[in-house]
């Protein structure tokens, strides 16, 4: 499987009369985007705004972040199962607009259950807190959606997701006939003997509607662990549908740019032999289901001949049991593991970082403490809403809050440079 990522670096993002990409300038025609999105009767309205790094703007009620990509050649469509039939992707050429992202925002006022009190997600484009979110560093086209009346939350979520993915593909298609700044070839060729065989085990959280991850358009709930080629990730085979706990949410953008898969691929044939990606559903409710998933994952990794595996967690709470069980099952069959996980060490960092642990988990990389308090400065403008869900005051106000509300700040996919240290 060979995939060329034809990267076009976007140096400016602005509104104009006609959507087009030329010489690093991406021009977006609002009416054209609106027409594209409103083609679905389940989408009632969309507000479209542009925000840039350094703007004193706070994006609130974020749902997902998506990188504009489109297929130029090769089978299937980006985001297979959503924008095209679920045929295998990951070969041919894919156009990528680098440095720009689509941010979808929306909320469900009807969700008053405490379970949904955790759904705020913030991106500060400027000010002192902008260093925490990876999406503070991209030029963002923010789509603030309202959906038609009478839909269930799951139907609203689906409509917004498909609309966002459509816009992402639409924008990338503007660059299809341009010459890219860079072409990156992604393939796992024959690696010389003697290099350690390394698998990437990526947990995908699924806990019902609005807390879900999709593979080829299908929820991972109820699925057994499965094997994919990293190129499939780069073509959008995995799409986010998780709308809680912003700092550890895994937006689609981070699956498209999967940091661990990218790192392993870049070092394939040099330092290691990357044998593939195992996707494992996490957050299963029943202990026997957790066991089945973890044991199955270790078995798949062993069948791949893996000697070592990077395991990334998704979500909080009992997702730690999935992580620890997977680690233990792998180590028991002789696969050395390293775990990527964030910490819940309390506001002052004095609590125990995690609620489960196995002695085999002797190598963990930290994505920081998501319960640490940070100060958001007052900003000039909010996009996506006027308030923060479940918090008093206006969205633009200065306030002290837990890092967990900042989108992507404690990514367990390995995006960020934040860690926690003993002090």
């Amino acid at each position: 499987m060979r995939l060329e990522l034809a990267r076009h670096v976007v140096q400016s993002l602005e509104f104009g009369r006609r959507t087009a990409f030329e010489d690093g300038r991406l021009v977006v025609d609002r009416d054209e985007i609106r027409a594209l999105v409103l083609g679905d009767p389940n989408v009632r309205s969309v507000e479209i705004e542009i925000v840039r790094p350094g703007d004193r703007v706070r994006i609130v009620h974020c749902m997902d972040v998506v990188e504009p990509r489109a297929k130029a050649s090769g089978s299937g469509e980006v985001f297979p199962g959503f924008l095209g039939p679920p045929v295998t992707v990951g070969s041919g050429r894919t156009v990528v607009l680098t440095g720009v992202a689509i941010v979808s925002t929306g909320t469900w006022p009807e969700l008053t259950d405490p379970w949904w009190s955790n759904r705020e997600a913030i991106i500060d484009m400027g000010g002192s807190a902008s260093r925490y979110s990876p999406y503070s560093r991209t030029r963002n086209l923010v789509l603030s959606f309202r959906t038609a009346a009478g839909l269930t939350p799951a139907q609203q979520d689906h409509a917004i997701r498909v609309a966002t993915l459509r816009v992402a593909r639409h924008l990338a298609l503007t660059a299809r006939d341009r010459s890219p700044d860079e072409v990156e070839t992604c393939e796992l060729g024959q690696a010389r003997g003697g290099l350690p065989r390394v698998a990437y085990i990526c947990h995908l959280g699924s806990l019902g509607a609005l807390y879900n991850t999709y593979l080829y358009g299908h929820s991972v709930a109820g699925t057994l662990p499965t094997l994919i080629h990293p190129n499939e990730l780069f073509d959008g085979a995995v799409v986010n549908g998780h709308h809680r706990l912003a700092s550890e949410r895994h937006p689609t953008y981070d699956h498209q740019n999967s940091p661990v898969a990218t790192e392993l691929m870049q070092r394939h044939g040099r330092d290691l032999n990357f044998v593939g990606v195992i996707l494992m559903r996490s957050l299963a409710e029943l202990p026997e289901e957790k066991e089945r998933l973890a044991s199955y994952t270790a078995k798949l990794a062993k069948l791949l001949g893996a000697e070592a595996a990077v395991i990334t967690r998704q979500g909080g709470g009992h997702a730690i049991f999935d992580l620890m069980t997977t680690c233990q099952r792998c180590e028991q069959v002789g696969i050395k593991t390293a775990l990527l996980v964030n910490e819940m060490a309390g506001h002052a960092g004095t609590d125990v970082s995690m609620i489960d642990f196995v002695p085999e988990a002797d190598l963990m990389v930290s994505a920081g403490n998501h319960e640490a308090l940070i100060d958001l400065p007052a900003l000039d403008r909010a996009v996506g809403g006027d308030v923060l869900l479940g918090m008093p005051g206006r969205a633009v106000d200065a306030r002290r809050l837990q890092l967990r509300w900042v989108f992507g700040a404690n990514s367990q996919l390995g995006v960020g440079c934040l860690t926690a240290r003993a002090r």
């Binding site: 390394v198 709470g317 002797d362 860690t419």
Partner: protein, 348 residues
């Protein structure tokens, strides 16, 4: 720049007398006193001790918060850049006073403070989370070793430098995890570390093994058919309206509710307010969180002696360990005084 240091001592090291003088109150003297001379020498040109504040070991502890406030007021008048307390070695009252003073200085004056004492000093456990403590030997014989790192770290703190890990800087680990930005992203670090592990090299985890508080289970109930059993849950199942306003996440309190006369928990009257899970199923039938219906049956069948007529409810979602331990102690205390011999604990 020469930093201004205020030094805190007990009455003994301030040369005001031994145990017989432990009841003496606060005294402020200009410049360095006793061990301050050695510390001052190691401060060199970087700083000087502008004043020394001392207090009697017993007098301080009559009301330590008040004594600390008194010391802070005296220190404030000396306009220091940093406050140094001790070394207190293994002296318990002195060590605790150092802890109170340093914490109060940081909180009220917003300037850094540090103490020095032996790791065995009881004040270490009480204050190491809040106060930088430089380890020393157990007795004053160690003074010559204790002074240089104390002086050096005082200068580091006063200069506003970013303070590194305990093993680099020489202070006792504070049991804190602090967020820091590093150069390489987590995906790159984890591949490096995994390769070190595979090659059999030395590798360093970024998160040490957590220390859990293991609770040995109570001995089995001898005759459960004669025992009073209570129902306790972490699932946040509260009466409609949440009368005690228990928080859905990071809870600080728990509740207890009368269930006498209820054959089971009726849907609609009890709802789960726990923010960490999807509660629809339990809200449709609250007995699946707190099994009152089945417990009543067991009593009728004589398989358990009696049911305690109150249900105890806490929320586990993001609960701090400290609060969880307190909830457990408080609920267990109530159960014990109500003559309960066994409890069924259910969770989300």
């Amino acid at each position: 720049m020469t930093i201004r240091v205020v030094h805190y001592l007990n009455q003994f090291f301030a040369g005001r007398g031994g145990e017989s003088q432990a009841d003496c109150g606060i005294e402020v003297r200009e410049g360095e006193v006793g061990p301050g001379q050695l510390i001052g020498r190691h401060l060199g040109n970087s700083g000087r001790i502008v004043a020394t504040v001392s207090y009697g070991d017993n007098a301080f502890h009559v009301d330590p918060e008040r004594s600390a406030a008194e010391v802070v007021n005296a220190i404030a008048r000396c306009r220091p850049d940093v406050v140094v307390a001790g070394p207190a070695f293994e002296a318990g009252r002195y060590g605790l006073a150092c802890g109170y003073v340093c914490r109060a200085v940081q909180e009220r004056l917003g300037i850094p403070a540090l103490a020095a004492m032996a790791p065995e000093n009881p004040a270490v456990e009480q204050f190491r989370r809040d106060v930088y403590i430089i380890p020393t030997g157990r007795s004053a014989i160690d003074m010559a070793h204790a002074a240089p790192p104390l002086a050096a770290f005082a200068v580091r703190l006063a200069s506003g430098a970013e303070i590194g890990a305990p093993e680099q800087e020489g202070y006792l680990p504070r049991g804190r995890r602090e967020n820091v930005f590093v150069e390489r992203r987590a995906a790159a670090r984890i591949v490096d570390l995994l390769l070190q592990k595979v090659r059999g090299e030395i590798y360093q985890t970024e998160i040490p093994a957590p220390a859990f508080d293991r609770v040995p289970p109570a001995p089995a109930v001898q005759r459960i058919e004669a025992a009073t059993v209570a129902l306790v849950t972490e699932g946040g199942l509260v009466p409609k309206g949440n009368p005690d306003r228990i928080e859905s996440t990071r809870p600080t309190r728990w509740g207890s509710y009368d269930i006498s006369g209820l054959p089971g928990l009726p849907a609609g009257d009890f709802l789960s307010i726990h923010a960490g899970w999807a509660p629809e199923t339990v809200n449709e039938n609250p007995n699946r969180m707190v099994p009152l219906d089945i417990a009543r049956e067991l009593v009728r069948e004589g398989r358990i002696g009696a049911l305690h007529e109150r249900v105890y409810v806490a929320v586990g979602s993001s609960c701090t360990i400290e609060n969880a331990q307190r909830f457990g102690r408080e609920i267990a205390g109530r159960l014990r005084s109500a003559g309960v011999q066994a409890a069924i604990l259910t969770a989300t």
